[in-house]
Structure formats: structure tokens, C-alpha cells
Symmetry: C2
Subunit: 395 residues, 2 copies
């Protein structure tokens, strides 16, 4: 009997949608440089602009407000780097405020860029979150000064799934004259996202979280918002991101969002039911656990649970042997021995943070996968806890 | 009869090699995040590291000296930005020299980044080139001061094909204690390139110039050379370039260089013969022309020719109607009405620079393509010149 395979790590990355794969295969022969003026170039340009319209329309933006980038990380780095702009070459270089407000639970690409900006003289304030991972809006109000250039708050957290009230945040930020960026890499394509409705100035999204390929993402830059390119050179993306366009990736991202606009609503409901089944099953079968993340304002398929007396990495490896893929946090933080900064920010003690795993479900998962997980996980946890003298002593 | 199609714009981008397309198709189902610890992640990681070994080996580097980036432009921006490093977060942050020496004929991604660095206090010296596009080595010697942090000189020019003597340049640069970067995007895979033999500290390459896909490139960073990431965040690429790895692109780049190592030598000879046939044919059939670029130290398939009394863009469009794709210079500079900065740097007068086209041949081109070009081009030039009152008056 072949071992059952369950991929529960859709927040790290997703298997491509069959239709996206088909779109890639179909585009393999379209090789012109979209910047070239001849027929080959014009054909490629047409595909790129078609995809731009699809992605823009999916998030309620105008095509000229969208630029394609190589990853969510590049997108977030690009927007934050506006605060580091020092030159007259930049468009609308009015982002004179040199202070950044962000949160303790951002993705490493925001936190590391913030650290770098701090080294370059930008004052950075990190907002706390409550036990469910929600940003304290009163603290936000108190943190924005007249010198605040940018506020960057992620829409949905990659590790615990908590979704922020970006609409309320945007009102607070704009009332105080600052600009708002949201890292929506985990939100776009999973829950409805409309830049106009949310009132954000900048937003980042990525293809490989929503059944598209790796190596392509997009950034929304509100018309007339300040901007400074991270990658300079050719006229691509209206001079905002140099480098020959990744035509295949862009076509695939366009297809991925088109599919999301059709499939997302039903899938969201299905994933929420699956997550609830999983949550109840774990709570019934395994003692001494803590669910982390907001109970309702949360990504439909993301469940973060911490097991006392069990290391997350051990759980991950035992589940891997059983054919189940989960993670201990952000894939981007793998290799780090530190407990998750997100879990710690929710106030869970270090020992619990070490014992947390992230289960993230996607379109290919079924209720059978949930049943299989529930048949495997209790034994895995019991076995690991049995090896833990600290946990054993407590019993 | 179907119109003949001739793609003579291989320096802008190339059609993918059938084996590269196959490699992409085969990799579509490998979706794990290479940073994930489970089986899906490990599989993707294995493919990424295999490709890294292929690319490193192709240029004589060690795998840990190579990082994957989203484009040649990103690679060049990354290396130049070392001069902008101001923070203690950077590795080997010993690039204390704050002066940059580069040339007037670099790609826009180097020139624009240089301008930006100048705005940030970096002193930039632009070296002249002679009529064949060769850098003046004596001027280079005189331009490097003890404050020079980096010298950046492209190996092969994208517009005129001239290849610099990087080995000699490297000796001069290192004798004076500076570091050398070479933009080898147009050289790698077309002529032999070995980083140890050349003695460079940094080198940039790109997949889509050598029958791979767009959206993926690589940067060689000599072991222990100073480095500062352009994109910060996760641990990917040993912390040097954050963002989930573009697995498919990386696999395709690996395959592209593997194929180059087999096909390059024969193709180089064939392209040089084709170029010579084309050059002779044009010289015989069309008066008042100027070939630009070094007669021998040049990319095998690149021929830049300027026609007095004819605008490059008009030639491009007429050829496009005849099914032939050429360019007027860098695709990255399309849309610009300025004459090519490269052609001007060789000393050709502005009116001649306006009349230049770049013919760049690649692996799919045949001698029949050359014959077709030679049967079409004289009429195109004659027709355009006939419309040019200035040219007509001279006759």
C-alpha cells in the first residue's frame, strides 16, 4: 500500500493549479522581450498587459497601479525602501517622513528590512499584538507622529492566520497623514481583498501562495503615491522595476488570480469547515494544547497549535515520516533555532512557542486528509511527549 | 505562402531551448518550498542545489559563491549597492571605498544605479571607450584611487558586442586594491567565461539570453568578498537574497547552462561565419554604412550597423513587416527617443547613431536567414533613404 500523502503546508507554498500549469505550458513558446518593438515583443507585451489587468481587477486596482516583482519579499522590500529614498531621481518623492511603524509579527522580509532602515537612520516602532495576534489600534494611534512616513501592517499573518482590520487601520493612518502598506501575500486569493475598500496605499501579493509559480509577485502602488525603485535600469514597469519581464510567471499569476476569482468563495467556506473539524478533533484527542491565532478573523485554512512538552521540529519530522507535511512557522525562517517571533508576540511562553506547528490547508486538501491527520497526530504527540522527561515529570 | 520569420534579436532575449522547455514542464509538479524541512521541501531543495552546481561549474565557481536572482538587472543592482551599504548587518562589510569606476557603455541597470549611488554620495567615474567600444586601460589605471570600492565593467556589450579584456582589467583593478564586477549577461554561454581565469570578484549572468526563461539570473560573489543583500528577509540563498526560490526558473537556468556547455563551442564558430557572411553582404549591397563594435573581440552573433540617412526605428518597423526582428539597441531602452549611449560613446555622430540597428543571431538562426536578410535589407534602406530629404540632397 502506498503511503498516504497529505500536504498541509499551503502557507509555505502551494501546488500549482492544473490550469496554471497549462497556461505556463502554452506560454513556453512566447519568447519575445515585452520591451521589443517587433511582433515577437508585441505578442509578449500583450500577454503581460492582459495579466496585469487580471491581477489589478482582482484587487480593485487600476492596471497602471500594479507592478510585477520577483517575490513577495521583493515587493515588501521595495515599498519599505521608499523610506530610504534620498535621491532626486525618485517619482513623487514626497515621502519625507523618516519614521516607520510596523508590528512585531511581520514576515522576516519586513522585519529585516526595518532593521536595515533603522541602521540608516529611520526610526522604527514595532506594535504589539494581543493573544490572538491582533494589532492594538490604540497603540497604533499613539505611535504615528508627524514624522511617520509609512505604516506597514500585514493583512493576514503567515504563521497564525490572524487577519487585521486593515480598513480601521487605514482610517487611523490616513487621519494622521501617513501612508499605509499591507503585506497581503497570505490574504489575496484566500479572502476578499479590495485596495479601494481597504484604503491602502501599497499592497504586496505573491503567486505561489495561490496555486501559481514561485518567482513572481506584484505590488499595488496607489496612483500618485511616492515611489522609489529598488531595481533600477530599463523602462520596464514604467521605470519602477527594471529587468526583463518574467513573461511566463506573469501569465501564470494572471491565470492564478482569474481562477481564484471563480473558486475562492466556495473554497473559503470548505476550508473553514475542514479547519473546524481539525481543531475540534485535536482538542478532543490531545491534552495540553494551545491554539494560536484569532478564532474567527483568520485565514480559512490556517491552524496553528502548540503542544506542551513537544518540539515543533520533532512533530514536523514524525509527521513527515507519516507522509504529512506541516511546518513549524515560516518557511522563510527555517534553519533558525529561535522560537517563532509571531508566537512569542502573542504572549505564549517560550516553551510553548517551541512546540507549535502550523497546519495550512489548500484547495487540494480533503476531509479525508483531516481524518488521516487526526489518526496520526495523537500518536506522534504521545510518542514525543513520552521521550520528554520534563513533560513526563508533570504527569 | 507563409511569410518567412527571422528572429535576429537574440541579445534582447532568446527562444527557449526545447530541452529547457522540457525541464520546465517536468518541474511543474515539484512545488515544495525549498526552505521547507519536509519531503516536498527537500525535493525542491535538491533540484535547486543541483542547478546551482551546474551553473557554478559552468563559470568555474564554487556552488556557495553563486546566488540566484530574478534578473540580470537585479544582479547588477545588488552588486553595485554594496557601495551603498551603511549598516552593520552586512557580511564582510569591508567595502569601505565609496567611489565607483564604470564605463559609458554599460547597460542601463548599471548606469541608472550608478546615478542613484551618486545621489547618495558615491563618486562615480565613467570610463570612455574607443571607436570599437574598448575601454581605455590607461584611463582605467588613472581612475582608480585608494577610495575606489568597486570597478564595474561589462564583459560583452549588449548593443555592439565588443568584448573587454577582463583579465587585463582585473589585474589593473586588483593591483590597486579595488574590487571588480563584470556584467557578463551577454557573455556567459556565448563565449568561454571562467571567473577564476578572469579574476573577477563579482559577475552577473541571466538565463533568458541563453535559451532559458525570463525572470531568473545568478550572481557570482567570490568567497569572502564584501556583500550586502538588496532583498532582505528569509534565510534563502544563505541570507543573501530573500524570497522563495523560483524553483522552475532555477531548474531551467541549470538546464540552459548544461546545454550551453555542450553546444556553445560549435555554435560560436557557426555564428561567427554567419555574421561574417552578413557583414560582407551588407557592405557589398548597401553604401554609406558604418559597422560599430570591435572587428574580432566581439560576441559571435552580434552585428551593429549604422545606415546614414535612415532612422533605426524605421528600419526596425520595415523589417518587422518583412518578418524580420531586429532592434535599435537595448530592449531595456526601448521607448526612449535618445540615440544609443553606447553608439555615441564610440564617437559616431548623433545622426549615425540614430540610424543604427543591432542584428543578434542565435542557435535557431541559419544561413538561409542571413540570405533572407540580405535580400530584404537593401530595399528597406533604399526606401527609407528615398523618403529622407537630407540623405537625398547629399546624393
Amino acid at each position: 500500500m502506498e503511503k498516504r500523502k497529505v500536504y498541509f503546508d499551503n502557507n509555505a507554498t502551494t501546488p500549482m493549479h492544473p490550469e496554471v500549469k497549462k497556461a505556463i505550458t502554452n506560454a513556453l513558446d512566447v519568447f519575445g522581450n515585452p520591451s521589443s518593438l517587433h511582433a515577437y515583443g508585441r505578442h509578449a507585451r500583450m500577454l503581460v498587459e492582459g495579466a496585469r489587468e487580471s491581477v489589478a481587477s482582482f484587487i480593485g486596482a487600476r492596471p497602471d497601479e500594479l507592478l510585477f516583482v520577483g517575490s513577495g519579499s521583493e515587493g515588501n522590500n521595495t515599498i519599505l525602501s521608499i523610506l530610504n529614498s534620498q535621491c532626486r531621481m525618485c517619482e513623487y518623492n514626497t515621502c519625507s517622513g523618516k519614521e516607520l511603524v510596523t508590528t512585531r509579527i511581520e514576515h522576516p522580509c519586513v522585519l529585516e528590512t526595518s532593521k536595515c532602515l533603522a541602521e540608516r537612520g529611520v526610526r522604527v516602532t514595532y506594535l504589539d499584538v494581543d493573544k490572538d495576534g491582533k494589532v492594538d489600534l490604540d497603540q497604533l494611534k499613539g505611535s504615528i507622529s508627524p514624522r511617520t512616513g509609512l505604516v506597514s501592517i500585514m493583512m493576514a499573518n503567515n504563521e497564525i492566520g490572524t487577519i487585521q482590520d486593515v480598513r480601521a487601520i487605514s482610517r487611523i493612518v490616513h487621519e494622521r497623514g501617513a501612508l499605509l502598506h499591507t503585506d497581503a501575500v497570505q490574504a489575496v486569493g484566500k479572502v476578499p481583498v479590495d485596495v479601494t475598500d481597504l484604503g491602502v496605499d501599497f499592497l504586496t501579493l505573491s503567486a505561489h501562495k495561490i496555486y501559481g509559480p514561485k518567482g513572481i509577485g506584484a505590488v499595488y502602488v496607489r496612483k500618485n503615491a511616492p515611489f522609489c525603485p529598488l531595481i533600477r535600469g530599463g523602462h520596464q514597469e514604467r521605470g519602477r522595476r527594471a529587468g526583463t519581464e518574467n513573461t511566463i510567471g506573469i501569465v501564470a499569476l494572471g491565470k492564478a488570480v482569474e481562477l481564484r476569482s471563480v473558486e475562492m468563495a466556495d473554497e473559503e467556506k470548505r476550508l473553514r469547515r475542514m479547519k473546524e473539524t481539525l481543531r475540534k478533533g485535536i482538542a478532543e484527542k490531545i491534552p495540553d494544547i494551545h491554539f494560536v491565532g484569532h478564532p474567527t478573523d483568520s485565514l480559512p485554512g490556517t491552524l496553528n497549535v502548540s503542544f506542551e512538552g513537544a518540539e515543533g521540529e520533532a512533530i514536523l519530522l514524525y509527521l513527515d515520516l507519516a507522509g504529512i507535511a506541516v511546518s513549524t512557522g515560516s518557511a522563510c525562517a527555517s534553519g533558525s533555532l529561535d522560537p517563532s517571533h509571531v508566537i512569542l508576540a502573542t504572549g505564549l511562553p517560550v516553551e510553548c512557542a517551541h512546540g507549535s506547528i502550523r497546519i495550512s490547508m489548500g484547495r487540494e486538501n480533503t476531509f479525508d486528509d483531516v481524518d488521516y491527520m487526526l489518526s496520526v497526530l495523537p500518536d506522534v504527540i504521545a510518542r514525543i511527549r513520552g521521550m520528554s522527561s520534563a513533560y513526563a515529570r508533570r504527569q
